[in-house]
Structures are given as C-alpha cells and as structure tokens.
Point group: C2
Chain length 357, copies 2
C-alpha cells in the first residue's frame, strides 16, 4: 500500500518555472523507491497570471491549494517597475496571503556553508545554523494605514502586532529545533531596548518556555548586534528565533554569508498540520535572467529536501541533501575552471547522483 | 575676537568616560590654533547616575543641555541584566529622549574602510558611504502598548509613525549630502513590498525630491537585499537614506564590514540649528571592559571630527580625520606585531600627530 501525497506546485514567475522543473525531477527520483507517490497539481499564479486575468489569488485558488498535503513554490513577482503591476503587490496578495491564510507560523530557514562554497567572509568558520522566523505576526500583519495621502500632511502608520499565543507557539517550536541539534543553543533576536512592548513579550515568553527545555542554553542579541556577529563570528549561532521582519532581514544576510540566495532554502510551516506547509527558495523571480537557463536550481532542490523531511520522508530528504552537497563540492573541485552549467545541467547532475546511489 | 562654543559633554557609563577623555584632548589640541574656544560643561548621566539618584534625564537636565551649542556623548547603559536597572531603560529614557527632544532628525553615520583596517569581508573593495538615518520617527516613536500583559491573551503592538513632514526633511538632507559627494548617488532602503503605507510614503517623497537634484542618481533596495549588498558589494553604496529602525540595523552591519564599531562615529543632527546636535560613537558602554584602558577611543575621536565639521570648523575636522587615518595605517604598519595600546596611548598618538603638524 503506497501513500498518496497531494502536492500543489506553484512555479510562479521569472526563473520560478525553470528551477521548479529541476526540483520536481529531483523529488520524483528521490522518492521513486519509497512507499509514496506524489500527485502533483500545477497552479498558475503570479505576475503573469495577474496580467492575464487581473487575479492575484482568488478564494477558489486558496481553497484548492489548501486541500493539498504540501506546496512547492518557485518564485513570484514581475519585472520591477512594470507599470501594469503598480497596484498589484503580488508579494502581499499572493506570497504573504498564502503564509497568513495557511497559518505558516514557522518560517524555517537553515544557513549552511557547504564545503567548497565561497563565502564573502574572509574567515567564515563553520556556518551551520537555523533561523526560526515567525510567519504570521509582527510588522507583516498588514495593519498599516495612512491619512491625507499625497499631501504635505500625510501620516503613514504601520502596526506590528504580537500576541502571547503567536509568540509562544513559534518560540516553543524553536526550542524543540534547538533541542534536536547537537549545539542545543537558542538566540533570541529582537530590539527590546526600543520596541519595549513587543520585545518585552518575546523576552518573557522565551524565559518562560526555557524552563521546559533545560538542556537548551539561551542568549539574547539586539537585531543590530546580531548583524555584526553574522559577519564577524557566524559560528556562534545555532538556532535563532525572531520576529517576522527581523527574520526577513537576518535570513537574507545569512544566505549571503553562506554562499548566496542561490543556495538558500526555506519552509513555511504549519506545525499543527491543519494546513499544508509551503517550501520555496529564498530567492526571488529574477526576471532579468528568466528563461535563459542561468538560474541555479539548488535552492529549490534543497527546498524539496525540507519538504521531504517535513513529510517524514527523512531518508529521501537526507539523500537529496547528500546529492546536493556532493554536487556543490564538485563545482569547485580541484580549482580547475569549469564551464558554467545550465539550470537543467545542475538538476540532471543531482538526479544522476541520486540514481547512481 | 574668538567664538565661544558651549559644549555639553556626557561621558556616560562603562567605557564612555575613557573614550571621551581622549576625544576631549583631541578636540582641544585640534582647535588650539583656531579662533574658537570650547567651554565644556560635564553632565553625569546614565546608569550610574540612575543608580545613585533614580533619575534618568530630568527636565532640568534637558533644558540645561539644550542651552549648549553642541553635545559630545560617550556611551550610556549599565551592565546587561542588572536587576536594579530592570525598569530604567536608559536607552529610551536618555539616548532616545535626547534625540527626540532635540529634534535630531538626521542621524549621520559614515562608513569608511580606512587603509590598513582589516575587514571581515574577503574582498571589501572601496568602502566609503554614508547612511542618513531618520532619527525622530518610524518604529522608534514609542507608540507601542500592550493589553492583558503577562497573560496568555497578551497583545503587544508597536506603531511605526511616518509623516510627510518628517520624511521629506531627512530625504532632502540626504540628497544634499549625496550632491556634495563625488559619487552623487542615493539609495533608498525600505521594505515597500510589505510595509506598503510607510514604504509608499518614503518612495513617493524620494521620487518628488529627486526632481530638485537632477545630478543625483537614485535607486531603491529592500532592506533585506541591502544587507546582501553590504557584504557582497559594499562599494555600490554612496549615500543611503532610510528609516530609523532600518538605519539602526544597517549601520551596525556597515560598521562591522568597515572594521568594527570601534571605529564608527555618528552625528545626531538638527540641521535647523534650533537645537544642539549630538555626536557619539556608535558603540555601546561595554561595561565588561570598562575602566581597563582597553577601549579604542577612535570612534569617539572621529565623532569629534564630525562635530567640528558640523560647527563649520572644517579645517580642524580634516586634521583630526587625517591624524586618525595616519594612526590607523600605522597600527598595522608593515605587518609587524605591535603591542596592544591602551585607550590613552591611542589618544596620545593622535594628539602627537596633530601637534607635530
Ligand atoms: C517577497 C517578500 C514579501 C518576502 C518577505 O519579506 O517575507 C521575501 O523577502 C522573503 O523573505 O520570503
Ligand atoms: C542604544 C540604542 C537605543 C541605539 C538605537 O537603537 O538607536 C543604538 O543601537 C544606536 O544605533 O545608536
């Protein structure tokens, strides 16, 4: 008896379709021997769909996606500055709407400097940490507003909303992630000295939940100081737990120091399992290089590894990660100049490593 | 006839008094030949003062400081976690209160990688940019609040307030800064795709003010992408204009890549001249190394250069910067191991370079 997994695939815009094509190939090869079959439904969403139909994400789209077991997303977003997209805000209307509607309160973003990958840091040391970014609260809630817009007396506000309920569940998840890692260390990042109400809530909850995880050591950094440590001593980090906006900023920086967003995978997770979780590369749609087979599909493929691991297919997940690690190591090899590979070449190379095994 | 300049000096806590002692020595030597005299009043403010008297900053303190022509501040803040300071919040009650009360709407933070200074980046290139951080609005306004505090139903909000008045004046200042630099390039950093109201206001005002500065080229980066460029290609930046919180984060990262916060100076400026501007190193009070002559006074001394330049004493400012540059270059010299110098040693070395001249 084989388990059927319903996977919603959203290739999206720009390089999204190209990297997703490789990710799906890898997914299928990696699970061919497993006792599961993936049933894929493809959703055409993003800037291209908006330009065609005027819709960003309809209630029907959302209901249909929500009926799946998991989601794989490429990248969404049109050409920056395209006047036809001026009022669309694909990010809020599609990406953030999915994260919020599907209660993806854990945004999991591992940062690993794979052997052979050059870092912009002179002495990066051992970079291997995970950011657990809150995904459904903070300054991302969309509770902003403006009065007297367009006049000299305009006032534009943004509200960061933080609840004990929302902070506690993500903090508890982060402690569990830390507990399962050899380092068993958790760093809360916030700005408690300025954002005293939100910061106070986060600080109190971390202190309270810490008593349930006596083996996890805890420390605290202001977000500004955290950026310093990310470039001077990234190996000090094991698990970082932080709010939605700080997590957004820190994970791009973290991706940069560990070889670039071409390698950074992420999971938007609903740990309750009430809604499907969504896996996506951290990079955007990069319309400037779209359709040219120039994009690196590695981040999308590593997102497949996160997806498999989330579904409990830990063996398949480990094999994908191992194949990617070997592929990355071979890229630099003995330093010989290697011809640049196309998006498909990289996918095929990883598939070959998986099938050879 | 010599001009009398009334300078309020706030040495503060931790390493503050040590670095300010050197900064004041340099100030006096650098201006000894100029047609000005500095009349110093010393203010004992910070954690130590709070522990003694229970006051952080009284109305009398504020009125007295406001009656000066400029302010030089070391660093404020007690030992982290000191239970006696739990309810004090020296940062909000002193540092931010000064910035807000004295309408320091321009927080000027230059980042220069001086010759001879090691960067954590493998290939930093030419790092020489200025961040113009808004200082009186954004998430720093202190308009947060919480309900049901300490319960499972707590909701803690923080409000970012942005006004056309406040954004326009700092954006115009940033354009003027860019116009006066050879690069003539301004980058707006925000998060317009998520913080649509605040981001929209910033974006529209930059576009409008740009028409007054046709020689300045303008671009835009999301804050997350800006952190990537700061570590992969910092020489792409000339002038950055951004909000209070993004500016806080970016300037610590900027300091890290250009040799550390031991070298980073800043000016909290009221360009209108209605209130005294305040100059301070970006670093904190570092209580762990206080009183040991281990702190590098360079950031405080470079803050004196910013102070002199703000007061129109451009010649003296240039000489301080030149003396610091020469001192820094000599630190690494020909690579020979040099014994670590005390705080006073560094101050004296810079004074010697100024007097030899
Ligand atoms: C596209 C944007 C809305 C998104 C975010 O800010 O979360 C992206 O930067 C990310 O990190 O996934
Ligand atoms: C101490 C703190 C309130 C302050 C800030 O956040 O502005 C500091 O980090 C700075 O950058 O000057």
């Amino acid at each position: 008896m084989s388990t059927q997994i319903k996977l919603a695939v959203i290739p999206g815009d720009g390089i999204g379709p190209e990297v997703i094509a490789e990710a799906v190939k890898v997914l299928e090869v990696a699970t061919s021997a497993a006792d599961v079959t993936f049933d894929l439904s493809w959703f055409s969403l993003g800037a291209a769909r908006f330009l065609e139909t005027g819709d960003v994400l309809t209630d029907e789209d959302l209901a249909s996606i929500a009926a799946h077991d998991a989601i794989l997303l490429g990248a969404v977003g049109g050409v920056p500055g395209d006047p036809r997209l001026a009022n669309a805000n694909i990010e809020r209307g599609l990406l953030l709407k999915l994260r919020f509607s599907l209660d993806h309160y854990v945004n999991l973003r591992p940062s690993v400097l794979f052997p052979g990958v050059p870092s912009p840091l002179a002495a990066p040391g051992n970079v291997d940490f995970v950011v657990v970014r809150e995904g459904t609260e903070g300054p991302y809630v969309g509770n902003g507003g403006a009065i007297r817009q367009g006049t000299a007396h305009e006032v534009a506000n943004e509200v960061s909303v933080n609840t004990a309920f929302g902070v506690e569940r993500v903090v508890r998840h982060a402690f569990a992630v830390a507990q399962a890692r050899p380092g068993r260390h958790l760093t809360l990042v916030h700005k408690t000295n300025v954002l005293v109400f939100a910061g106070g809530l986060w600080q109190r909850i971390v202190t309270a939940v810490a008593t349930e995880f006596p083996e996890v050591s805890v420390d605290y950094l202001h977000v500004d100081a955290a950026t310093i440590f990310l470039v001077t001593n990234p190996s000090r980090f094991d698990v970082i737990v932080t709010d939605n906006l700080f997590g957004d900023i820190l994970t791009d920086l973290a991706a940069a120091i560990s070889g670039g967003i071409g390698l950074a995978a992420s999971g938007n997770i609903n740990p309750d399992g009430r809604f499907p979780s969504m896996f996506e590369p951290v990079h955007g749609s990069a319309p400037d290089i779209a359709g040219k087979q120039l994009a690196d599909p590695t981040a999308a493929i590593l997102s497949v590894a996160l997806l498999l691991s989330h579904l409990g297919l830990t063996d398949a997940a480990a094999r994908v990660t191992a194949a990617v690690t070997a592929d990355i190591a071979a890229r630099r090899g003995d330093g010989a100049a290697t011809a640049p590979r196309s998006t498909t070449d990289v996918g095929n190379a990883i598939v070959t490593r998986l099938t050879d095994k």
